[in-house]
């Protein structure tokens, strides 16, 4: 079963992250590197991506003439996707366990961040929706 583990954050969270000390960033990077290596070594790794800060984010809708209409104004409460991992595991419980580990990534001062990780199954086809 494939699952996506997503980190999200509000604009204010990015502002905070930009203020982390180099030491804190380095510690976090080291954790993430080891985490990805563990996923690969255990054969569950499928993909990972980190997204840019949401300052440049746009929402696009189709206009009447088919031209894209873009909007870059968001409520402060909006949760932006920060990054994700896709893993291929035997059970949801295994996905939760891996997500919990991602959640313990160190934050400022080396304390576990306790970041919430959203876990969702990904579809191998439209039929997975039960339609």
């Amino acid at each position: 079963m494939k699952f996506i583990l997503m980190m999200t954050g509000k604009m204010a969270d990015w502002d905070e992250y930009m203020k982390w000390s180099k030491e804190d960033l380095q510690r976090n990077v080291t954790f993430m590197r080891a985490f990805s290596r563990e996923l690969k070594d255990s054969g569950v790794f499928v993909a990972t991506e980190g997204l840019a800060a949401p300052g440049e984010a746009k929402i696009v809708r189709a206009g009447k003439d088919g031209e894209p209409i873009t909007d870059g104004v968001f409520p402060e409460s909006k949760e932006f996707l920060a990054g994700y991992w896709i893993i291929d595991v035997e059970s949801p419980e295994q996905a939760y366990k891996i997500a919990a580990r991602a959640s313990t990534a160190p934050g400022p001062g080396g304390k576990p961040g306790g970041m919430p990780i959203e876990v969702r199954q990904v579809l191998s086809g439209h039929a997975d929706l039960g339609l």
Binding site: M7, V29, L51, R61, P68, A82, A99
Partner: protein, 143 residues
């Protein structure tokens, strides 16, 4: 330049999608599949993925000892990721144009869904200059 196009929706929107007629769903999926084929032909396609319905979503936080603590209760207003496309395009405007086409895919009765598509770039954090770019990307994902 790589961009990710994110389709999001609230639970109520997903429920309404599940109630569409088969014909409407087929017409919708046919357009999305055509867009993917065209992006593949133009060399702009990188990846696409649909997510399962959010009713099964869980939020996990680690605790002492790394045991997972899961929660499956969300506010009605929560935007869930429904699916995404990753494209490699020459300009941001091209990414917006592709997002506009996805937004224009037909819904019930052939009327465009006009679903909002969030367009985002990928991380590069030069302030951690001593790390390799791969490490930086991974570190950046923390937030």
């Amino acid at each position: 330049m790589k961009y990710i196009l994110l389709m999001t929706g609230m639970t109520v929107g997903v429920e309404s999608y599940l109630a569409w007629s088969q014909k409407d769903r087929d017409a919708h999926m046919a357009v999305l599949q055509r867009i993917t084929r065209e992006l593949t032909a133009s060399g702009e396609f990188v990846a696409t993925q649909g997510l399962a319905v959010p009713q099964e979503a869980k939020v996990v936080r680690g605790e002492q000892g790394g045991m997972p603590v899961t929660d499956g209760v969300f506010p009605e207003s929560k935007e869930f990721l429904l699916g995404y496309w990753i494209v490699d395009v020459a300009t941001p405007e091209r990414a917006y144009a592709i997002a506009g086409r996805i937004s224009a895919a037909p819904g019930p009765g052939g009327v465009p869904t006009n679903v909002p598509i969030e367009v985002r770039g990928f991380a590069s954090y030069p302030e951690v200059a001593s790390s390799s770019s791969e490490e930086i990307t991974r570190g950046a994902k923390r937030i």
